[in-house]
Amino acid sequence: MLKLEWTVPTLRELQHAFAGALTGAGVALDIPETMTPRLEIYANTRRASLRQALGLTFPAVRALVGDEFFGLMAGDFAATTPPASAYLNDYGTELPRFVRSYAPATSIGYLADVAELEWAVSRACHAPDAPRLDPGELSELDPVDLARVMFIAHPSVAIVRLAYPADQIWRAVLEQDQAAMRAIDLAAGPVHLLVERDAEEQVQVRRLTPDAWEFTRRLLAGEPLFHALAAGRGFAHGIEPATASAQTTLAEHLSVRRFIGCRLAITQGEQGP
């Protein structure tokens, strides 16, 4: 083999190699053997920081699988999906999907659903502040314009539909309530959840009816009100034929100030016959 003359690596080369040594992605550094345990100090700090960050974001998942398993899973997750940013509250968006296909965890069918809920809870907790829409502002609109309103939700608001009653599991685990845990019916069917940080800064997880959830989903996707009201019901005449469920849901969204603003759709889109 050709022995190359030793040259000083550039900073970029050195950082790339050092990063590889820390993450186990390949060691290109010429490291004296005595240095290996020292590099391991940095690698340990990295592992512990990521494990801790994920553990704070997914406390119920960690409690369900135990610290040791969670640490291994966090390590495997970090190997495939390392953080792109130093703001570690943003780290973990792909964890629910990772858990869903993580072979060692398949025996806990609901684990990924709990992870998905916890990610929404974490988002709600850390979402930026935003001044909320005063519902009084809408009373100034005429009814035709009201139908064209597209709402902008508070950045903490999310909706999640899960196959398992992850909200009950999540609460029972965090409250260490064994009786509640035993009472959960895993086969009860899907849950339709709304997660938010309310106007008092408290994170809330609420169940919605499937209709209210679908209506809310459309509003959060930025659909004009009359689209969201009419969708799936054969109605296309604006606000009038709205179901009681949707009107009640909208009234609640407005009264608890889940929106931070609204715009008017430029056209009404599809018109009725």
């Binding site: 550039t10 950082q15 990063a19 020292r38 130093a86 703001y87 570690l88 509250n89 979402a127």
Partner: protein, 295 residues
């Protein structure tokens, strides 16, 4: 934001007294008991979001001068700074008007991956150019000067010709930044790299130093039998570090001093006691300066 609804917020300078690092575990205790410390320092990244944590910072900010300590900007990475990270930091600085803003002479990002530790830089002209460029970019984005902190180290690069204190002084000279001198880090690095910590302290330029850090560290024995000091901020300040601090104060004069504690966080009262201990050293140093002035 609600800050503007509270009492007028002025960017009070931090006196040459002792403060503590505020972590989530002590939010409520600090708000409830308002301990007698000169200032609070927080990790900037912990407040990038909104909600309850931000409300807490707004509340303590009304009662204490604030120092924002960044741990994730990765000033030393050869590559672009994370623009989103810098923008969030700038927003925090705008909203909270901290008296001090600091970051580390280290790197944490390579090829877009965050490595979740403060990693060592080779002290070369090339690294100096990278660091100065990023410090300038940061100061421009924040509209103010920052402090740069010496990290703790466990390895040294073969090609690292510039002493760290010279590297930091050169950065300050070229960018107008100032320095945060971590006494514990000097002690830990000096032990691990087998150099003299006193030499580092004596080489510091007093006018460049705007803050000092103190913290505890741990002693571990490696597989090869070599003892190494780990900068884990998990205990009280060691006697050797207090001694080095005393030497630093004699050389630098009194400077704002922070007690950091990040793992195995004790009750707030223990942190306040550590700050009071630093305060005693500061008052002695002040008396020393007065005597020197009178002479």
């Amino acid at each position: 934001m609600s800050l503007t609804n509270g009492p007028a917020l002025t960017s009070r300078p931090i006196p040459a007294q002792a403060g503590i690092g505020l972590r989530f575990a002590h939010h409520q205790a600090v708000i409830a008991t308002r301990p007698q410390v000169a200032f609070l320092e927080v990790h900037a990244e912990n407040y990038f979001g909104g909600g309850v944590t931000r409300r807490c910072l707004e509340q303590v900010r009304r009662d204490y001068p604030l120092s924002l300590h960044g741990v994730g900007l990765s000033i030393g990475t050869d590559g672009p700074l994370d623009a989103g990270h810098l923008a969030r930091l700038a927003e925090l600085v705008r909203d909270f008007e901290p008296a001090l803003v600091s970051e580390h002479l280290s790197w944490s990002v390579s090829a877009g991956e965050y490595l979740a530790d403060l990693l060592p830089l080779p002290m070369t002209e090339e690294a100096l150019d990278v660091v100065c460029c990023h410090v300038e970019q940061t100061q421009q984005a924040l509209g103010r000067h920052i402090l740069l902190e010496n990290p703790s180290a466990y390895v040294r690069f073969e090609h690292s010709p510039i002493p760290e204190w010279e590297f930091l002084a050169a950065t300050a000279k070229r960018t107008g930044c100032r320095l945060l001198c971590d006494i514990n880090n000097i002690f830990v690095s000096a032990h691990n790299l087998e150099v003299d910590p006193n030499r580092y302290i004596d080489a510091l330029q007093p006018a460049l130093i705007e803050e000092l850090h103190l913290a505890g560290h741990a002693l571990r024995t490696l597989a090869n039998g070599r003892q190494i000091r780990i900068d884990n901020h998990g205990s009280s300040v060691s006697p050797a570090v207090w001694a080095l601090y005393e030497r630093a104060l004699r050389h630098l004069g009194p400077k704002p001093t922070l007690i950091e504690w990040d793992t195995d966080i004790p009750p707030l009262s223990i942190l306040v006691q550590e700050a009071q201990q630093a305060e005693r050293y500061l008052r002695r140093a002040e008396a020393g300066v007065d005597r020197a002035d009178a002479a």
